[in-house]
Symmetry: C2
Subunit: 533 residues, 2 copies
């Protein structure tokens, strides 16, 4: 504990200043202050020592030099144990507290200020006070954030004017964050003024993960500074590196859909998606998109989850072999009953995700000595432009939007086949991902769709070929990028798919359209590619 007998206050943001100063005054602390800060304190009726009477210098050069002096820097920096005799020889009294925040450089920069304006916002004295006080936290407390004034005030009152080492140390770390952020902004802004682009990123609250993508890779997760906590685990075992990757894909997939929706994610690819009315039915429908792969998946919903919505997982079935194994369920909210039901599966995690726009706006990739940074591929309405003799049925535009949202989340080359069920539910019926050529992805999506339809026909005792043909005729195939050759049109036609949506943009678009016309297929272009790697 140190007793706070002498405090220097020099703040740009005056929020909360007076109540803190009043507390300091009440505990008998001398207040030393500069320019505008002094004025604010005196107007509140507080007695203030002018900085000039300490430094023995005037405030000079339009305020550029106010606190910077041998006396003030010495008061902050001398070692309270070793240097006390020297300090009193030099007539330097200790300063025990610095309350300081800086010129608002970031704000002025963001509103596009000119270089001369920016230069005036580069705080020299304030940064020196903060850094000096923080360095000497053994004897000094430094407060940079008005949000801390209340707790500091309380501690001062409850201790008779003292601040604990623990408090000073916490404040010291915050002070160094503050100046590191400040100088990062100045450095990037000055580069920008000279047409140089630099990037300084800051992350906090690092925590070790058990391992990375594989057990021999060490990994950590950090929070983006000043950002919300996006994934909050309510129950189940710890989240892994791969869980986080899947969670992001899962949430991205359902966030792009306006009606209630469910997505089933495996290795970052959606293998099941459904959009419609009841979450309970949507999980059943999504699961049927790939019932083999859905085991061990991450499942996302875009609506609060209720008691019976996960019923088809049969987590409480007495025959354990009937229970469906899932890694994570993520939703904006869980009812108490939903959580109790999930607790039947010991390791199953319930994760809350509340999407907030701005936190998700960039992608980063670190390569050998390089960083790639891009805007996220955010959801956007696509406008369709018919290309074939047979136009695309305008009544299925909702289904097409569903398909485009799905294909955006599948690793390239990506193909999805989607359909509308009788009750208006949309379903991902088959997907082809990660193939080095497009026609292989078409074949994968078709095979998965056929598999699902054949199983459905068996389960419902329908005529297999009739069912498969009817459903594929009504389905839509969506491609994430253009078809480079007409071969995929033949694969679609052979499979019985009649409607194709793609961005277009190949030098062979005309050949592809011609082949559609020859085969009697409908095709529309979106004009927007959705590669994802």
């Amino acid at each position: 504990m140190i007793l706070i007998k002498r405090a220097l206050l020099s703040v740009h943001d005056k929020t909360g200043l007076v109540p803190l100063a009043r507390t300091l005054s009440e505990i008998g602390c001398e207040l030393i202050s500069t320019g505008g800060t002094r004025k604010a304190l005196e107007e509140a009726g507080l007695s203030v020592t002018d900085i000039s009477s300490v430094t023995k210098n005037p405030e000079a050069f339009g305020g550029r030099v106010k606190t910077l002096s041998f006396q003030i820097c010495g008061s902050l920096l001398f070692d309270r144990k070793k240097d006390s005799a020297e300090a009193s020889r030099l007539g330097i009294e200790p300063l025990d507290l610095v309350v300081c925040n800086l010129y608002p450089f970031q704000k002025v920069w963001e509103r596009g200020a000119s270089l001369p304006e920016l230069i005036e916002e580069i705080d020299i004295g304030g940064v020196t006070l903060i850094r000096a006080g923080a360095k000497n936290f053994a004897g000094v407390a430094v407060v940079v954030d008005p949000q801390d004034y209340e707790s500091i005030g309380k501690e001062l009152i409850s201790t008779g004017g003292r601040l604990a080492l623990e408090t000073r140390r916490r404040l010291m770390r915050k002070a160094f964050h503050h100046v590191a952020d400040y100088d990062a902004a100045i450095s990037v802004a000055m580069d920008q003024q000279d047409g140089q682009e630099s990037l300084r990123l800051s992350f906090t609250d690092g925590a070790p993960l058990r391992y990375g993508e594989n057990p021999h890779q060490k990994a950590r997760v950090y929070r983006k500074s000043s950002s919300f906590a996006p994934f909050v685990a309510l129950q189940g075992k710890e989240l892994s590196y791969n869980n986080y990757l899947d969670l992001q894909s899962a949430v991205d997939t359902v966030a792009g859909l306006s009606r209630p929706a469910c997505a089933v994610i495996k290795h970052t690819n959606p293998c099941g998606i459904a959009e419609g009315d009841s979450l309970k039915r949507l999980l059943e429908v999504a699961w049927e998109g790939d019932p083999t792969s859905a085991f061990g998946s991450v499942i996302a919903f875009n609506r609060p989850l209720g008691e019976h919505d996960l019923a088809c997982l049969e987590l409480d079935h007495t025959d354990k072999s009937r229970r469906r194994f899932v890694e994570i369920v993520v939703a904006p909210e869980f009812s108490k009953e939903a959580l109790s039901y999930m607790a039947h599966a010991t390791n199953l995690r319930a994760v809350v995700h509340t999407r907030q726009g701005s936190a998700t706006d960039v992608d980063l990739r670190l390569l050998d000595g390089l960083l790639l940074r891009q805007d996220r591929d955010s959801a956007a309405e696509e406008s369709l432009s018919d290309k074939t003799n047979r136009p695309v049925d305008p009544s299925i535009s909702g289904l097409i939007r569903f398909g485009i949202n799905a294909v955006r989340q599948v690793k390239s080359n990506a193909i999805v086949i989607v359909r509308a069920l009788a009750d208006g539910t949309f379903q991902l019926l088959g997907m082809g991902s990660g193939q080095p050529n497009r026609v292989d992805s078409v074949r994968l999506a078709v095979r998965k769709a056929r598999e699902n339809l054949e199983r459905e026909a068996r389960d419902q005792a329908l005529s297999m070929e009739t069912h498969v043909t009817t459903e594929l005729t009504r389905a839509v195939l969506v491609s994430d990028a253009f078809f480079p050759f007409p071969d995929s049109m033949d694969a679609c036609s052979e499979a019985g798919v009649r409607t194709i949506i793609q961005p277009g943009g190949s030098i062979r678009d005309q050949a592809v359209i011609r082949r559609c016309d020859e085969l009697g297929l409908s095709m529309a272009f979106t004009g927007r590619r959705h590669f994802k790697h």
Copy 2:
């Protein structure tokens, strides 16, 4: 231009100090200095003004306060246009040059110093001098890097003691980089002392890319601060975002192989790889891994590229339809002849890549408000452990290593089939990537391998089934992660594959091994998973 009449020198790193000071002295500049710096200059026979005679204060508190003073800060900060009269009233003469570098905080931190040691390395005076001089670059030059001394000395001599605005501005930006890096290190180190993990990353030389993964996404590429330039384009059109992603995969794939090697990359997945002797033959063999997908690929080599190594691309064929379209060739070096040959394809890029160890050691992923950071999945020897009644043939361990290196680069779930040709060349014969379940990836790899072998039999007029069977019997199938069910063993056996390598680790390993024994397959475990998402 400003005339440098008065300079303050205060450096921790004394490299190159004396020659610069001598130049300053020769042009008639007054040298002001502190402690150790002054001693070094005086020993070199230079005349130095002691800082105390300027500040009118002693160097105090064991050196904690030397330069910090109203006089020095004023000398650096006053506006040369507006404040000159005030400065002379206050007896403050301008300082025109600051030569300063800081206590080596980063170095002391890296060697694991204690908190008290770290605190002594937090430079307060130096940071203040640098920041004050940089803010006032209109009238002051700040030199923080001994590497700049020579060019500064030359400019001073050639201009009769002056430094240009452009020079001062460039130095100003470097000065703010220096203090931003310094305070970033302090902030992270102080957090670490309190068990908090934070991360501050810095990137420079940002340049816009035409777009990101897709045309509607804005993107930039940055250099990792103080890192080498890893990908240098010698000719061809500009590199795109997706090119960079593919380049990284391409280089990673061949870097893990010790013999000469070639890899063909599409959408970040290798669809062809070969390791052997001559690059010319390796490209032919790699291309045959997937001759459909190889069009539009990125091709990497791990040896300097000579005149005829790209011959099979037929870039100069008079029949343009015979020319093979490739996006990029990347290699550690290109001969002049190789570049001339490549110039036949207008847009084809030649990219030099020199891998240097430490730049490539971490992966970053930015999610909603989170950053994931992990060690790269670096190459490492795997030790094989036989699991089946039929042991894996120990003579094929080289081929197995080749297969493991290949599967590491394929997006999960990943399966590769590899074989050794008669001349000892290893070839990727088939790969399955990006599937949500493992047996689908097995089926993809098998189908691609069969396709390739059937084409080979046709081309060489061999008996198709005999050729396919013989080759698959001698091939090795490698999986990036364990087989969760025995179904993949049946798929292997049906295809004729007899040797399987996988990490193991499933709760059903015993059932998988049993199934191998029933089918007469050989299987070994590596104990090391290689997921890549």
